[in-house]
Subunit: 311 residues, 2 copies
């Protein structure tokens, strides 16, 4: 019997986490100090569960819905929970206050996990009586479609909190990875950033249009990366595996790395030029429609993957 | 009426190109000086066409097969072709000889395109009488499943050769992109290299296991990248598009880029450690079986994408 999961914050991420846990049969106590936020969350969750049902990704949306309790009182919301997924604002001082408040109301062994995408847990938990049960569990948006969760312990985090978070994520059908050090950007955004930085440099240098850079990934690299990682990809791309691959292509990648400029990829002029090309491909007023398309494509892809033998 | 396409070299890439063009209804003259290579190619092409048929990716494999002519004589193979896809060895001197030989037998307006993954066309065509019809058309392996083709003109390449190559690739249902400068690694491998370099550094620094780095891409970044590029992804990930995204996350990526070490990601010790983890996940004797799995997954993914409304 899994104890209920508490979620602090009923914004976009908090609502998505509620779906993740409820879908996996776990009771959810969703807390937000604002009653209106909880009401909006209830509607948004119902809509998302309906979308998932229509895409064949959840069998019984009503049952999942019934597992979510909405509570604007922190103490009663967090009573009896074994794990809290904090989805508060991305601000160190605010988080420090939130964790003090949480520590005052949860059981001594309750794990406190933050959804933060960029702030190390040590920065907002070092003032607590029991910082050993705190860590980061960073999702990708929306976590009910993209399963990766970065579990990032602080130096003070105990092994038990790490182990139970990894286990809970597996139970919730997510894919947790363990990030052993509190590096800036964790792992997913460092990998994304490396590719974006290079793409922006190629664009700024006039090597390729924005559209062609997107095509390179979606009709080239991204196909295999959607079911294999980059290491498995290169391991299978040389007759004798990764070392063989490194001998063949390492020199090229090393040269590319060395001769790469030190100019800032995120310059205002570069972003303005990128924006101009993007707005030609997609006018600003159609961004929302295209986001809905993206979500449908993502659901269709997940349904496709689930239809295959799980290997 | 498209003139036949000549393919020089009946190895892995030459055979795959033959499938691409024949599948699109274009006659193919496949040349290799070695008769045994042509015989092996015929068998391999028949097998691949059969696999594609079983995956629902080609309707009439016999018809495609019948469009491919095998010819070990260069002059008769290249008679009447409007375009040559060169798939010779990755060696500058060898390619220079090949292009001299080709120039002697093809029509004056025949485009000569190289499949090279790393050598700029200017390096093996500057001695020709008509270098203006030469360029690189670099495929991803196998091109009949992964449609991206990098079209990379040399400074001497004429606009007509670029335009007709782009048009031929579209006709062959590939996705050509235009690379405006002969940069090392072209575009696809520069993007792949940027991500690999960062992944290897995170692995070497003990931040993450090889398996968890692969999971980060296949259960995280790679899902959206398989149907959207990185720029479209960030454009849709902030309320007001790419500039808004840059204001929010640019500082993080800029910092990651600046504090990134200058150590060589492709060190022997790193590759040996990576190999050890990979061989625990997949013993060397199962590499072939896993490659077959990869090809099945790729075919299933392409069939899934084709089943969706083309948007």
């Amino acid at each position: 019997m899994t104890r209920p999961v508490g979620i602090l914050g009923a914004g976009l991420i908090g609502r998505a986490w509620a779906i993740v846990f409820a879908r996996a049969g776990i009771d959810v106590h969703l807390h937000d100090a604002a009653d209106e936020a909880l009401e909006r969350a209830r509607d948004a969750i119902a809509t998302s569960l309906d979308d998932l049902h229509q895409a064949g990704l959840i069998e019984d949306p009503e049952r999942a819905m019934s597992r979510i309790r909405y509570d604007s009182d922190l103490a009663s919301a967090m009573a009896g929970v074994g794990y809290v997924q904090e989805c508060g604002p991305e601000d160190v001082e605010t988080k420090r206050r939130i964790y003090s408040d949480l520590e005052a109301v949860v059981a001594k062994d309750t794990v406190l996990a933050s959804s933060t995408s960029g702030i190390a847990a040590s920065r907002f938990t070092d003032h607590l009586h029991h910082p050993g049960r705190c860590l980061v569990a960073h999702p990708v948006n929306p976590p009910y479609l993209i399963p990766l969760v970065e579990v990032v312990p602080a130096p003070a985090t105990g092994q038990a909190a790490v182990a139970s978070t990894m286990a809970l994520m597996e139970q919730a059908r997510q894919t947790p990875i363990l990030v052993n050090k509190e590096v800036p950007g964790f792992v997913l955004n460092r990998l994304q950033g490396a590719l974006l930085n290079e793409a922006l440099r190629l664009f700024a240098d006039g090597v390729c249009s924005a559209e062609d850079l997107d095509k390179t990934v979606k009709h080239g690299l991204g196909l295999r990366w959607s079911f294999m990682g980059p290491f498995e990809t290169i391991d299978l791309n040389a007759p004798d595996g990764v070392v063989d691959y490194g001998n063949r292509y390492g020199p090229l990648y090393r040269d590319v790395d060395r001769e790469r400029g030190d100019d800032d990829p995120w310059q205002t002029t570069t972003l303005a030029a990128l924006d101009q090309q993007r707005r030609q491909q997609l006018p600003a007023q159609r961004l929302g429609e295209r986001q809905a398309w993206r979500d449908r494509r993502l659901m269709a892809l997940i349904a496709h993957q689930q239809s295959l033998t799980n290997d």
